[in-house]
């Protein structure tokens, strides 16, 4: 990963096989958040996360958030 990668490595890194949930963990919680001229504000993205909770991360009495780590 240090230094330049050839095109094939770069494609591998682009990771077509990346699991969607791992990607969403990063794209919906990580990344620099810019406001100001932004058309869609971060609050909206958080709303999306809440709306998708049923699919992505249902939290219920049977599956309380563990205290780990």
């Amino acid at each position: 990963m240090s230094g330049a990668l050839d095109e094939e490595d770069a494609r591998a890194l682009a990771g077509r096989e990346v699991a969607l949930i791992d990607l969403l963990d990063r794209l919906l919680q990580g990344g620099v958040v810019l406001a100001g001229d932004l058309v869609l504000s971060i609050a909206d993205v958080d709303l999306v996360r809440i709306d998708l909770r049923a699919v992505i991360a249902p939290v219920d009495a049977e599956h309380p958030a563990p205290l780990l780590p």
């Binding site: 791992d22 990063r26 990344g31 932004l38 999306v48």
Partner: protein, 294 residues
């Protein structure tokens, strides 16, 4: 492009990076969320990877509606990731949050100028680092094996006397108790392994972010390198991201998987290397980003 053509497009921004010839070369090979050609918007010492996207799909209402449909969200996420990952090999890239859209390139340029004092130190911190995802699961297939072993060599009084003497109801309850104890032990083993892994990881990583453990339908579709069986299922009890120097990336992965070896009832998945999504945040109060001693 004419003025009227511009109005039909918005500018989707993927990442902030240094305006180098290599960066210009890299973006030229990339297509974005709307299959558009990606390019650079530059200021003196910063650049943003951006692409023109159709306004009718990316204005606020359409975008918000689209994000609430999983297939559309997935397409957007994979498109965004494709560009960021394509730039990650350049060494220093600051991924932007999903769905960062501007009206035109001038506004992007202005943001680069306004936030320059935040972007430059962040880029410097992340340069030459990669992110690894480390997920720890309980492994039900393994704990079932442990349960069977426990039944084969009775230890407690309730079985030493022979379950033949128990009524079917009591035998059932005893078995249930054992199973429950097995699950609890599996959870605790997994928790201990998670702690050991966090300690091991802390030795190599320069940053750690704990994501919420994964639940729900999407969590059932696994991915990434695995130690300890590799079968899906089990409960995700830790979902962490670590920032690791790129030249120790493979060592990190190997050490994490080794730390998980030979732990019955535990499955560990390592995903990545990722662009440093989880660390592309404004500097937090220090403790949150430090590896915690365990």
């Amino acid at each position: 492009m004419t003025e009227s053509a511009w109005r039909q497009h918005m500018v989707y921004a993927y990442a902030v990076l240094r305006p180098t010839p290599e960066a210009a070369q890299a973006v030229a090979t990339l297509r974005g969320v709307a299959d558009e050609q990606v390019g650079l918007v530059e200021t003196d010492d910063l650049a943003a990877a951006v692409g023109p996207v159709p306004a009718e799909e990316f204005e606020e209402g359409a975008l918000r509606a689209g994000l609430e449909e999983l297939p559309r969200l997935e397409a957007l996420a994979r498109g965004h990731h494709g560009v960021v990952a394509g730039l990650a090999s350049l060494g220093a890239v600051l991924p932007l949050r999903l769905a960062t859209v501007y009206r035109d390139e001038d506004r992007v340029r202005r943001v680069l100028q306004e936030r320059r004092d935040q972007f430059l130190p962040l880029l410097e911190r992340l340069a030459g680092h990669v992110e690894w995802g480390v997920k720890v699961y309980t492994d039900p297939t393994d704990s079932l094996a442990g349960d069977a072993a426990g039944a084969a060599e009775p230890t407690g009084g309730e079985t030493a006397g022979g379950e033949g003497f128990l009524s079917p109801g009591r035998a059932y309850l005893a078995a249930r108790r054992r199973r429950r104890r097995g699950a609890e032990e599996a959870w605790q083993t997994a928790a201990r392994t998670a702690a050991r892994i966090a300690e091991e990881a802390g030795g190599l990583a320069v940053g750690r972010v704990a994501h919420r453990p994964q639940r729900g339908e999407l969590a059932q579709v696994g991915g990434g390198g695995t130690a300890g069986g590799g079968k899906p299922g089990g409960e995700n009890i830790a979902n962490d991201a670590y920032l690791v120097p790129a030249d120790r990336a493979e060592e990190f992965r190997a050490r994490i998987l080794a730390a998980a070896e030979g732990q019955p009832g535990v499955r560990v998945e390592v995903t990545g290397p990722w662009a440093p999504y989880s660390f592309a945040l404004p500097p937090e109060p220090e403790p949150a980003a430090r590896p915690e001693p365990v």
